[in-house]
Symmetry: C2
Subunit: 186 residues, 2 copies
């Protein structure tokens, strides 16, 4: 740990630091050099693992999609539970979530990222697959994804604070459940 050379775990250390910093200050204020300094290495060390600024975001997004997939699978097969799990993930991992759907930050053609995105998409599909007796299942699936994604985004950016739409002290997961209930009973 106190040794000069990091021996393997630098990659995850930097990733973790990046997620922390993004959660605190936002993506725009993230500096690779600051990240390196915070991780106790020279300014060019991260480049060896991620190559690029885009490479770092790509790795972070990939990790995010894998974490999301795990979270969704754990939630089971009920649409409501899966939806709430999506919101829970977004709020628990703001640093990852802020990067995952930003095509301008990550390298869109990265095969690892595409695979992880596909995995989480599959997990989402598995959880929402059974929609018997619904007129337009595809619309419901789209709506479910959109509503949890939008709610998580808006919540995280503080869009609800002065809106009178909800109690500032409310539990986001509980609100998410209320919203999803509004949706699926169609």
């Amino acid at each position: 740990m106190a040794d000069a050379y990091h021996h393997g775990d630098l990659r995850s250390v930097v990733l973790h630091a990046a997620a922390d910093q993004i959660a605190q200050d936002g993506v725009d204020r993230l500096s690779l050099r600051g990240l390196a300094q915070r991780s106790g290495v020279s300014h060019a060390a991260p480049a060896h693992h991620f190559g690029d600024r885009r490479g770092l975001f790509t790795a972070l997004a990939t990790e995010g999609f894998d974490l999301l997939a795990a979270e969704l699978r754990e939630a089971g097969t009920d649409l409501r539970d899966v939806a709430v799990a999506y919101v829970r993930f977004a709020l628990a991992r703001p640093g990852h979530f802020a990067v995952m759907f930003r095509s301008d930050l990550a390298r869109a053609d990265d095969p690892g990222l595409a695979a992880a995105r596909r995995r989480s998409g599959q997990a989402l599909r598995d959880g929402v697959g059974r929609l018997e007796g619904v007129a337009d299942p595809a619309a419901v699936q789209l709506a479910a994804w959109s509503v949890v994604h939008g709610f998580a985004s808006l919540w995280q950016e503080g869009a609800f604070v002065g809106s009178d739409l909800l109690d500032p002290a409310a539990d986001p997961e509980a609100v998410a459940r209320r919203i999803v209930d509004t949706l699926v009973l169609t």
Copy 2:
């Protein structure tokens, strides 16, 4: 136009150029100097109008909220129409939309931005206000906002492209209407 000094319209010229560039390359790749060059002025000229990088984003977000408010008011008083108008705005003004809900980019305490945000919030409220016979109107309002915001965000970032959830050539407004219909009939 060919004169050396811009005389007044530089502010809007730069704002327009910024919206264009953000729509093309994303927020992260926006350079104030490139913007200035593209507008035909020196690198420090924008600073006089916006002060700061954050100042530019603040102005752009403010303009965006005003445009959104106008669009929402024009849509009338039906929740479906207002919701679709929200999506239409987001897709028509991607450069503005990308900045409007990013608290890390704009100056959150700016009074002009707060006022514009309040105006568009009011417009949204006016359009969605009448929800008679609904068990949990606040939840429906939250869900409506969340679903259009999420759908517009996901669409813009290309999250739907390989997902089999919808036809890649589909008209986003039509899809948005389908989604909203899924929602309000509760």
